[in-house]
Amino acid sequence: MKENLLPKRTALLWQIRIGLAGLILIIALCAFSFLTRWLLLAAAALAVLLALFLFWYLPRYFKSYEICFPSGAIVINRGVFIKTTHIMPFSRLVYAQSYATPLARAMGLAALSLKAARSAIIVPELNAADVDYFIDFLSKEGKA
């Protein structure tokens, strides 16, 4: 029962977030290009890399996300080049924490962090309502 529960807006949110951070860096490099022309070249290279990252890697990374709930556990598979599987039995769960940035809130999303002793599993931005439902479910089950 593998499924990607992440809404498509999550991919857009990641693209905006990383795009903005990259853009600031490119603008900074351009602004300081009066020091050396090499900075302009670096800015151009960064722009190409950023475009590649935003429009090729991120969609694939988003697609690779598989979140499933086999009996009594959460399993998250992700990764394009390096595949990672994270398994956390609910019995080890200590508490759940949801958090949202202003941009994520505007898009109706919230991220979820599931904390166990010495480890944590982070579920990227889901629909805020789903996050609340998930936390309520865990609270009712007495798992978090």
Binding site: L93, V94, Y95, A96, Q97, S98, Y99, A100, T101, P102, R105, K115, A116, A117, R118, A120, I135, L138, S139, G142, K143, A144
Partner: protein, 476 residues
């Protein structure tokens, strides 16, 4: 029924603290302006604006705080820009701690700490300020309001514990930053004044040993005194409140602290004895609670000081479910094994003798200092040898429903009790001499944030393997 609690306004101060560094930027601007234009303008205005902004954010963040106590969960909401909501099942709480410093007492507030096993090491998972009234209500909702039995420990017992657990090193760690900060605040070289005074006093004491020995001894004694008073004021007013499934420890003089935890949150219980406690035939009982406290050891003192019988009696009352069972494992009680236990003390003693002889031949003018250091290290080695003999005679391990181990840890002797399911790891170590003698060293680590571990040496390898198989069903 759910109930919502808000933070005490004094929490604004706590929220401002991490952002005070922002106030440095207007100063930097002033410095740059001074070097470029030769004048400084608008620094104070900028400082005021920066302070107003961080205070505003702190106030908004403080007002956004909500603690919601439900029937089986606690929900904590905080944040204006980055909003977070945490839901914790009450059954998963390790401990709850309230601390009231003098400033809190003036505003009738307390620092409330909620600890779970999942939090960052060395700090509470959630820390906030509540009014005293609200904090009592929250604690009542989390742990119920049954009438507890209070056990009060006399100041003498607390003083004995403070005296026997204090050390000069702890005193230095506590004292030196205080002296430095106070000196900077008063604009005085306090450390130099103190050092001169120590020098003056130590020069007046004439002994066979050089004056540096007196100075060092005096520094160590002063540091020990600092550590003693720190420990005494930390644990004075020590009271233990007992309920059927909950324990609450209250202590402190200037800073009052209350720590509550369920007995089931206890990872392990340690009965330990420091060298000074050994002299006075006293023991202390501590418990390790997952995720508790901001100290490295995450342990809470339950009984500060008591004789062996008294401690054992109290252990049976508080933790009857931790009584040890299973087959007793210990090292062979013969001369050969005794010599193995004493191998390192003998080796260290020989090295010390050789080293001190060589040094005294090379540096003849430092003979008295070398003699002093040799005597001190010799005493330490003899004590180590004594502990090795203790380990030989009393070192043991029991693995059943609960795991029990008695051995030596550093310079302390200790006994560890823990349920077998709380054991995170059992390590069997076999050195070259262990293989022909079919013995091994067993290291039991308790599963917790900063795990307690205990080592029992020279046990029979086959018996240990059999015990592990019986206890955990794991064939080694």
């Amino acid at each position: 029924m759910k109930r919502e609690f808000r933070a005490h306004p004094i929490m604004i101060v706590n929220l401002i603290k991490p952002f005070l560094f922002v106030l440095v930027f207007p100063l930097l601007k002033g410095v740059i302006q001074y070097f470029t234009k030769g004048e400084i303008t608008g620094v104070l205005t900028l400082e005021l604006i920066a302070f107003a902004v961080i205070t505003l954010f702190a106030a908004l963040r403080c007002s956004s705080f909500r603690l919601i106590c439900g029937e089986s969960t606690v929900t904590i909401k905080i944040g204006i820009i980055l909003r977070s909501k945490s839901v914790i099942s009450i059954s998963k709480l390790s401990s709850v701690q309230t601390v009231q410093n003098p400033a809190d007492a003036v505003f009738r507030a307390v620092t409330y700490r909620i600890n779970t096993e999942a939090g960052p090491k060395g700090s509470a998972d959630f820390e906030f300020k509540l009014s005293l009234k609200d904090s009592r209500e929250v604690s009542r909702r989390l742990f119920g309001d049954k009438n507890p039995t209070a056990v009060k420990f006399s100041v003498f017992k607390v003083a004995v514990m403070a005296a026997t657990t204090s050390s000069a090193v702890t005193g230095m760690i506590i004292g030196v930053p205080i002296i430095n900060k106070a000196g900077k605040l008063l604009g005085l070289a306090l450390d130099k004044m103190l050092y001169d005074e120590i020098n003056n006093v130590s020069e007046k004491v004439v002994t066979y040993f050089p004056p540096i020995v007196n100075t060092i001894t005096l520094i160590f004694l002063l540091a020990y005194a600092v550590s003693f008073f720190y420990s005494l004021f930390k644990y004075i007013n020590f009271k233990l409140y007992l309920e059927k499934d909950k324990l609450e420890v209250r202590s402190g003089f200037f800073v009052r602290s209350r720590t509550s935890f369920k007995k089931e949150s206890v990872k392990d219980v340690i009965i330990d004895q420091t060298p000074l406690m050994r002299l006075f035939k006293r023991y202390a009982m501590k418990v390790s609670v997952g995720g508790y406290g901001n100290s490295k050891s995450e342990s809470a003192v339950i009984v500060p000081s008591g004789r062996r019988g008294e401690i054992k009696r109290q252990f049976s009352i508080y933790f009857p479910f931790l009584e040890p069972d299973g087959k007793l494992l210990h090292a062979k009680r013969d001369n050969r094994t005794k010599n193995r236990f004493l191998y390192f003390p003998k080796l260290y003693f020989i090295i010390l003798l050789v080293l001190s002889t060589v040094l005294s031949l090379i540096f003849k003018s430092f003979n008295r200092l070398i003699l002093f250091l040799t005597v001190v290290i010799c005493c330490v080695i003899f004590y180590y040898a004594y502990l090795c003999i203790f380990e030989f005679r009393f070192g043991k391990l029991k693995m059943g429903k609960n795991v029990y181990a008695q051995t030596v840890k550093g310079f302390n002797t200790c006994e560890l009790y823990c349920p077998r399911e709380n054991v995170g790891q059992i390590k069997l170590i076999r050195n070259i001499p262990d293989i022909p003698r079919k013995t091994c060293k067993v290291v039991v680590s308790v599963c917790s944030e900063s795990a307690d571990s205990i080592k029992v040496r020279h046990l029979n390898y086959e018996e240990v393997k059999k015990s592990i198989a019986e206890c955990y069903g794991v064939e080694v």
